[in-house]
Amino acid sequence: MSELVKRVDLIFGEYSDQKYKTLEKTLKRSNDDIIKDILDSGLKGRGGAGFPTALKWKFTMEQPGDEKYVICNADEGEPGTFKDREILTKVPRKVFAGMAICGKVIGAKKGYMYLRGEYRFLLPSLQVELDAYAEMAKEMDIDFTIEVRMGSGAYICGEESALFESMEGKRGEPRNKPPYPTVSGYLNKPTVINNVETFVNVLMICRIGPVQYKKLGTRDSRGSKVFSVSGDTPIAGIYELELGMPLEKFVDEFGDGDTKAVQVGGASGFCVPRKKFKDTIIGFEGVPTGGSMMIFNSSRSMYNVLHNYLEFFEEESCGQCTPCRVGCQQLRKGIEAVKRGDKPITYLEQLMKLSETMKITAKCGLGQSVANSFSSIVTNFKEEMIY
C-alpha cells in the first residue's frame, strides 16, 4: 500500500501483554473521568449515525434505577459492510472489555451481544473468549456478565429499537421514539447500545488517552475507522484508516483507475460520482459511513445498482409504516416504469419528492435513509435511469 492513505492499527492492534489490563486500570477510575475522556476524544458512534458516544453513556448513567443494559450491536447487515465480522474474529477481547467499561459507567450488570444470524459460525470462538472473560471477571470481582444473542437474518433488527424487540422475543419492528434507548431500551430499561467498533474505540481511548486518540482524524471525525472495501477494486478487504480523508485519496488508493462512483455507507448511504470525489470528505462533516465503501467502475449500470438497493429495502422493510413499506415498492417499480417508457421522465421528479417524504415521515432510519441512495443516484446518473 502506498503512503497516500494513512493506515492505523488502533482497532486491530495487538492485545496488551496482560489480559484485560486496560479494563482493570479503567475500572479503578471514576465514571465522570471516563466519560470526560470519551467526550474529549470526540468519539462518535461507529454504526453510521454518529451520535456522540459519551453523551449516550452519560444520559444512561444519569437514569435512575439499577436495572440497565449494555448491548453490543453486532447485527452487521448493511450491504457492503463486513468489518464487525473481522473485529469479532481478530480482537473480540477488546469488544468485551469496552462493554464492561460501559457497564461500570452506566451501572449495568448485564451485557448482550446481538450477533447477526449469518455470523453463527463466529459463535464457538466468541464463546471461548467469553468464557475467558467470565473467568477474569470472577477473579477481578467484576459484576458484569456478557451473553451472546443470535439474530435471525433480518436487516431491520440492526435498528436499535427493533433489535430490542427481537431480543425480547417479539417481531423485530422499530419502536416510536421518544423514548430513546437511554431512557427505555431493552425490557424498557435504560440501555446503551453501541456498534462493535465503538466499544473497541472506547477501550483504546482508555488505553492511549484522548490526547493521543485525537491526533487521528479531523475536527468533526476523530479517530480511525474500519472500512469494508468492495466492488471494482483490485484490493478488496478490511482496512483501518484515519477518518476525514477526501474521497479522492481513497479512490486513488483503492480504485481500479476507472472508478465512476463510490457508494459510501452501504445501501442506506450516499452515492458519490467521480466529479465530486475531490470535494467529498469521508466522515461526519461529509458523507458518514458505517464502514461500507462500494466502488463502481464504468462497466456498472447505476440503474442496476439502484434497482438492487431498492429491491433490498423493499424486502427488508419491516412493513409497519406506510412510507417505507409502500414507498420502497413505488420507487422500485417507478424506476422500472420510467426505464420501460411506461412513465414519462418527469415521473422521476415525482419519485424524488416521494423519497423526500419517506425521509421525513418514515418511522425509523431504514425508511428515512432510502432517499440517500435514491436521490444521489438519480440526480447524478439521471441518463442511466432513462436510457
Partner: protein, 597 residues
Amino acid sequence: MTNQINLKIDGIDLTVDEGTTILSAARKANIQVPTLCYHEDLCVAGNCRVCVVEQKGTKNLVPSCAMPVSEGMDILTNTGKVRLARKHIVELLLSEHNADCTKCYKNGNCELQQLASEMLTGEPMFLDLVPDKKYTIDMFNTAIVKDDSRCIRCQRCVRTCEELQSVSALDVAYRGHTMKISTFFEHPLFEVVCTNCGQCVNRCPTGALIEKNYIDKVWDAIYDPNKHVVVQTAPAVRIALGEALGMPPGKIVTGKMVAALKRLGFDSVLDTDFTADLTIIEEGHELLSRLKRVLVDKDTTVALPMATSCSPGWIKFIEHTFPEMLPNLSTCKSPQQMFGALAKTYYAQKRGLDPKNIVSISIMPCTAKKFEANRQEMRSSGYTDVDYVLTTRELGIMIRQAGLDFESLPEEHTDSFMGASTGAAVIFGTTGGVMEAALRTAYEIVTGREVPFEGLNITPVRGTEGEVREASILIKKTLPEWSFLEGVELKCAVANGLAYAKKVMQDVKSGKANYHFIEIMACPGGCLGGGGQPIPTNLEIRTKRKEAIYSEDMGMPIRKSHENPEIAEIYQEFLGKPLGHKSHELLHTHYTPRKRY
C-alpha cells in the same frame, strides 16, 4: 399534580399535562389532525404516519399520535410540507388498496375513503400495486370475513386482539412488501383461536374485516310466502341501532325498532329479552343447585364458581384457552339459542305452525352469535334453532334498503308471546347485567324478599371497563328449604373484555380467587360494545349506550325476570319446571375443548 407543558400549535398557545401527545393537545384546541392507525381504545402504534405534523426546528416531521409534547414546542399542522407528506401517504395506501369502493361493504363508513375524499386524491399519483399482489379473502368463517385486499396494515385489529382480548388470533406476518395481517400458519379464521368477537371489525378503518352478512338471505325468507319469519332482538341492539341510522349515541329506539321490523315484513317481532329472563330462571336455579350439591351433598364433582354462558365469544375463548375449566360454565344456552329452540317448538305449537316453515332470525350486537347459531349442538328443536343472525349494523342497512325514515317511525310494541320483557332482561346488554338480574331473582327465591338494594339497583356488580368487578352479598333469613345458604356470603365477579376474562380465570385456576358466580362478557363494556354494533366505537359512545340501558331498566314496569308473565306461562304450559326434562332438552347445552393455537 402532573407537570404542565406550554406549547404552541398553529400559533395557538396551549398548556397541557406532561405526557400528552401532540394529537390530543391539538384536539383539545379543536385542531383536527387526520389519523388512521390511531384508536382511542388501543395503545399507540404510530405506523400509518398520516398524522405527521411539522415541529419547528426539526428536520423530520413528527407523528402527532406518538410524540409527547415538550416545553416550548412549536407545532404546525397545516404547512405545504405536511400537506404533501400526508397526500403522499394516503396515495401510497391507496396504491396498495383494493379501492373498488362501490363493491365494498364499508362503502360510506370507511376512514380511508373519507381521508381520500378530503385530500381530493383524484388521479392516482403512483403506480397501482394491487394487480401484482396475491391478496387473499378468507370467507370460510360463518361470522367474520377478512379481505386482505382492503387492508392498510394499520394493525388496529392486531392490537385489539392482543390488548383488549388477549386472544392474538391476528398478528403480523412476513415483512416489507409482503407484510400482512394473518393468523397462525395463515390458517383460515375458523381454524384458529379467533373467538369471532368482532372487536377487530369494530375497529377496522376499512373493509378488511367485516361481518359475514346474511341480509339477502333474510330478505329471501321474508319474501317467501310459505315461510313464517320470526325475529328476536337482543337488549343491546335497541340502544345502539339509532347510531347506524344517523342518530346520536345513547338513544333508546326500542319502539321504532319494532315498528321498523314490522315494516320490513317479519311475520312476528319478538324479543330476546323473554329468553334472557328465562336464562335467569334456569341459570339461577343451576347456581342454587350447584351450591346445594357442594354445601349440603358435599359433592366434589360439582364445579364452582359457575360462569355465565351468554356470550359466545367468551364460550369459544374458554374452549380454546381454559378447556379444563369447561365444567365451570353454566350449561344454559344463551338467550338467543334458547329463543331459537323455543321458536321451533313451543312457539310453533302454540301458533299451530309447522316448524320446518319457520325461519328464525335474530338481531344481535354481536358477530360471535353468527358462529354460535351455526354450532352443531344448536339443533335441539330438530332444526337449525336460529337460521340467520344479523348484526345491529346489518339491521341498519336493511332499514335503509327499505327506504324507511327511521326517526319518524311510531313507537310500536313487540308481538306476544315470547315478546315480553323486563328490566332485568334489558340490562343483559351491559357488563354486570346478567349478574344483577340473576341476583334480583336468586335472592328472592332463597329469602322470599327483594334484594336489599335501593330500587333493585345492585350497583356493586355493575361492571366498568378496564377492571374485574368483585362483590359479595350476604344471604340472611332464608326460606326454610334454602336454610343451607343461611349466612353464606355469595361471592361474585364481573369481567368484560377477554383480557379480563383471562385474568379472572387464571385467578380461579390458581386458587387465588374464591368466587361462587362469575359473569363474563367477551366484549369491552358487555354486549353494548359488541362486535356487531355500529362503528365507530369508543369509551364515550359505550358510556352513553350504558346509560341508555340503565334508564331503560328503570323505566320498565317489571324489573325482575321471575315476574315476567310469559315466563310463568311457559313453565306452566310447556317446560314444567326449571332444570326439568324439557329444559335440559331444549335450553341446556355442552361445550367442546378446542386446541390452543
